[in-house]
C-alpha cells in the first residue's frame, strides 16, 4: 500500500511540475510569407503574359443559359425556372441589387465588367471593376487550404502552374454566394461548394476560364463551363473604380454647402424610381 501511495505521489508531482512550467514550453514558430528573392521576381518572367485588361464574352454567358444549364437538383431547378419565367415576364428577380460582391463563382460566370491579373511571387491576384472593386487572392506558394477556412465571398484559393495553365482550387465560399447563370437567375450554393478552375490563353489574346463546380446542396453532379475573356490594351480599358454602393446615392450639398451623398430610392429590380 505504501508503495502505491509513493507512485501516486510521484505522478501527482510530475503533473504539478508540468502545469507550472507549461508557460515555458517553446511556442510553434509562426508560418511566414518569406520576403521574395531576386530569383522569385525573375521567375515571374517565365510565366505566360496575361497583362492588359480582360473583358467578358457576355453573349456566350447569355447562350449558355440555354445550352449549358447546371445539373440542378429538383429544388434548385424549380427556383431557376421561376426566376427565368419572371425575367421573361419583365419582373427581374433582384439577385445582385444589394451590391454585395457578386462573389465566387458568379464573378467568373456572369460578370459584365473587366478584370486584370497580377503576378507577384507566390501569388496571383485578380482585380475587377465592380462590387466596390472586387479582388481574388490565389496563393501559388504551395500552401494548402486552411483546415477550416472562415467562409468568405471569394473563398480560399490556392493555385499551381501546369505549364501555361493556372489551376486554381477554391473552397470556403459563403453559402449565400450565388451560382448564377445570368444577372437575373441564380441559386445560393448553400454550402460545401468546391470550385476548380483551369485558366489559360486559348489564343494569344483570348483567355479561357474552365470551371468545374461541385455544389452538392444544389446540383446533382459537378458542372463544367468555360467562360471567355478578351484582352484589351487600349488605355480606355484601364480598370476604373467601380463602387457599386455609389448607386445608393446622388451627389448633393448639405446646409453648409458641403458636398455629401444623398440616398435615393430604387425599385425592387434595382433601377432608380422615376420622378412622379
Amino acid at each position: 500500500m505504501k508503495r502505491v501511495l509513493n507512485v501516486v505521489g510521484i505522478a501527482l508531482g510530475v503533473v504539478l511540475w508540468c502545469a507550472a512550467h507549461a508557460a515555458d514550453a517553446p511556442k510553434p514558430k509562426p508560418v511566414i510569407n518569406p520576403p521574395p528573392t531576386a530569383k522569385d521576381w525573375a521567375d515571374l518572367s517565365k510565366l505566360p503574359d496575361w497583362s492588359g485588361v480582360w473583358n467578358p464574352k457576355i453573349t456566350d454567358q447569355d447562350a449558355q443559359v440555354k445550352t449549358n444549364m447546371p445539373p440542378w437538383n429538383a429544388k434548385a431547378a424549380e427556383l431557376i425556372n421561376f426566376q427565368l419565367a419572371e425575367e421573361k415576364a419583365g419582373r427581374p428577380p433582384p439577385l445582385f441589387v444589394n451590391c454585395l460582391p457578386e462573389a465566387m463563382p458568379a464573378w467568373m460566370l456572369v460578370t459584365h465588367n473587366s478584370m486584370e491579373v497580377l503576378f507577384t511571387p507566390g501569388r496571383v491576384t485578380l482585380l475587377g471593376e465592380s462590387d466596390g472593386n472586387r479582388l481574388r487572392r490565389i496563393y501559388t506558394d504551395g500552401r494548402p487550404h486552411p483546415e477550416d477556412p472562415d467562409p468568405t465571398f471569394h473563398g480560399h484559393s490556392i493555385g499551381r502552374w501546369e505549364g501555361d495553365t493556372l489551376v486554381v482550387d477554391t473552397v470556403g465560399v459563403i453559402p449565400q454566394a450565388l451560382i448564377a447563370v445570368s444577372e437575373a437567375a441564380g441559386v445560393p450554393n448553400n454550402g460545401d461548394m468546391h470550385i476548380t478552375e483551369r485558366i489559360r490563353l486559348a489564343e494569344k489574346d483570348v483567355m479561357h476560364v474552365e470551371l468545374e463546380i461541385t455544389a452538392p446542396k444544389v446540383m446533382t453532379k459537378p458542372w463544367k463551363t468555360t467562360r471567355i475573356f478578351f484582352r484589351q490594351r487600349a488605355r480606355l480599358y484601364d480598370i476604373v473604380e467601380g463602387v457599386c454602393l455609389e448607386g445608393y446615392f446622388r451627389p448633393g450639398k448639405d446646409k453648409d454647402g458641403n458636398d455629401i451623398f444623398i440616398p435615393v430610392q430604387h425599385a425592387v429590380g434595382g433601377n432608380r424610381v422615376p420622378p412622379k
Binding site: N55, K57, I58, T59, K75, E78, L79, N81, F82, E87, G90, P92, P93, P94, L95, F96, V97, N98, C99, H112, N113, S114, E129, S130, S182, E183, A184, E203, D205, F230, R231, Q232, R233, A234, L236, Y237, I239, V240, E241, G242, V243, C244, L245, E246, G247, Y248, R250, P251, P263, Q265, H266, A267, V268, G269, G270, N271, R272, V273, P274, P275
Partner: protein, 145 residues
C-alpha cells in the same frame, strides 16, 4: 402553369419585402426595361449622375405623346467604365443640353427607362453603347483607324 412551391413564393416575397422597405441599390439586370419597343423623349437634360453601377440622365420631356407623358424622366445606362469604352465622357451630356433620347421604357409605364441612343440637338452628335459590341480582343486597333 406549374404550381410553384411555397418556399419559392416565400423567398420571393421576403426579398420583395426587404427590397420594398429600404432603398435597394442599383446593380441590376435590364429586364425591367421593355427592350422590344422604343419611345422617344425630346427635352432638356436636368441632371447627369455619372455613378456606378449605372449612370443616369434626367430629362425633362417637353413633347407628350401617347404613353409618353411630359415631365421629368430618369434614363439609366451602363457603368462609367463601360461607357468610356464606347466613346463617352462624363461631360458630353450636360444639364441644359437639348436632346432627343431613344429609350426602352420601364415595363410598368412610369417615367423611366434604359437608354438606347441620345442625340444632342446643338450638334446632331449621337451617342449609344452596347457592351456586347466589345467581344473581341485588341479593340485598340479600332481606335487607331
Amino acid at each position: 402553369m406549374k404550381p410553384l412551391s411555397k418556399k419559392v413564393f416565400t423567398s420571393a416575397a421576403f426579398i420583395g419585402l426587404v427590397a420594398g422597405a429600404y432603398p435597394v441599390s442599383a446593380h441590376h439586370s435590364t429586364t425591367m426595361f421593355d427592350r422590344d419597343n422604343v419611345i422617344v423623349l425630346d427635352g432638356v437634360v436636368k441632371e447627369l449622375h455619372w455613378t456606378n453601377p449605372h449612370v443616369a440622365i434626367f430629362i425633362e420631356n417637353a413633347a407628350a405623346k401617347p404613353g409618353v407623358p411630359e415631365g421629368l424622366w430618369v434614363i439609366e445606362l451602363t457603368s462609367p467604365g463601360n461607357l468610356v469604352r464606347s466613346g463617352w465622357t462624363r461631360s458630353i451630356i450636360k444639364p441644359g443640353d437639348k436632346v432627343t433620347a431613344e429609350v426602352h421604357q420601364l415595363r410598368d409605364g412610369t417615367k423611366g427607362g434604359g437608354l438606347r441612343k441620345i442625340t444632342l440637338a446643338a450638334t446632331g452628335q449621337s451617342y449609344t453603347y452596347n457592351i456586347r459590341d466589345s467581344e473581341r480582343p485588341n479593340l485598340e486597333e479600332d481606335y487607331k483607324k
